[in-house]
Symmetry: C2
Subunit: 188 residues, 2 copies
């Protein structure tokens, strides 16, 4: 694949990713994406034979971003509980988007699970990345509860994102973030 083609493909995936997040997968058409990128539908179909193929590219794109974040946090933060808090801090960093569009990972999984199980399995890998990373950290605190604690942290973060999204309320996000941090502090 030529350099020009690669650049074009990346631009498509980035635009489509944003549209899928803000409008939902079903509400995002090829027409929407091609208009956003500034190409024609025919050209879009040259790069992605089907909508499923485009969605898979979006999921891969998101997985790569998550992996980069986790690698970065591993390098920058050594203290286990500080790593956990860095994860929680995402909620407040992405406050604006979460309140408007929810958690990109959670909402995509919810949407796909209803009708597109094969790709929901791929979307689930976003959770897997965080879950595996968190479990490794919780193991450093206590080997016994690492799995259930990582699931619990993910559940609380998802609950916080969903509630603040439903109510468009940043106070909920703030309160729930604090609650999660207190829980982290209480661990031993």
């Amino acid at each position: 694949m030529t350099r020009k083609g690669q650049i074009s493909r990346d631009r498509i995936v980035e635009a489509a990713n944003r549209l899928v997040y803000t409008k939902g997968y079903n509400q995002t058409s090829f027409a929407d994406v091609s208009t956003e990128v500034g190409i024609t539908k025919g050209n879009l179909h040259y790069h992605f034979k089907s909508k499923d193929e485009l969605l898979e590219a979006i999921i891969n794109y998101r997985l790569a971003i998550i992996s980069d974040h986790l690698d970065h946090w591993n390098e920058k933060i050594s203290e286990p509980k500080e790593k956990l808090k860095r994860f929680v801090k995402m909620l407040l960093n992405e406050e604006r988007d979460i309140m408007r569009y929810g958690c990109p990972m959670g909402s995509l999984n919810v949407e796909l699970g209803k009708f597109q199980q094969p790709l929901q399995a791929r979307a689930k890998e976003m959770f897997d990345l965080y879950q595996g990373w968190l479990e490794k950290i919780f193991k450093q605190i206590d080997k016994k509860y690492s799995k259930s604690r990582s699931n619990h942290l993910l559940a609380m973060a998802q609950g916080a994102a969903l509630m603040s999204y439903v109510y468009s309320d940043k106070k909920i996000l703030k309160d729930e973030s604090n609650s999660i941090e207190e829980w982290i502090d209480s661990l031993n």
Copy 2:
């Protein structure tokens, strides 16, 4: 409206409600609903002029069911913490559906929020019912934290439902339910 018409309309709403839950609103077409009920699309349009109107009827149907549940719990249970636990128990009672299709209230709100804000506002009323009921109960325990605690309980329940749905894992639902119950016991 005649008795026969009323019965037919109820049957439509019940079938459509189930389809919207299991397949999602966007994936549920008039053809799906009419086939399920055993009538034609034209007839379905006689009862509901638009898809939005059908969805609104579904939301009203769900709101009525929730109201009935809350009234029933108010009558049957007097102890505040027992009421809270009855709410949490829903997660395990609906285990099978939650693992397959998620929380009906949460997933509908997530889906509608992405493109159908007017009806998401109606769907949010399902949360409002539970939130108001919970807040009243939390006030009996401590007036100061009733609002944030009711949001916290809803957030944890939503997080539990979402995680067990994403992973199709009943252990997550069980663990999170226990965690919520422990939190309730710890309150004073």
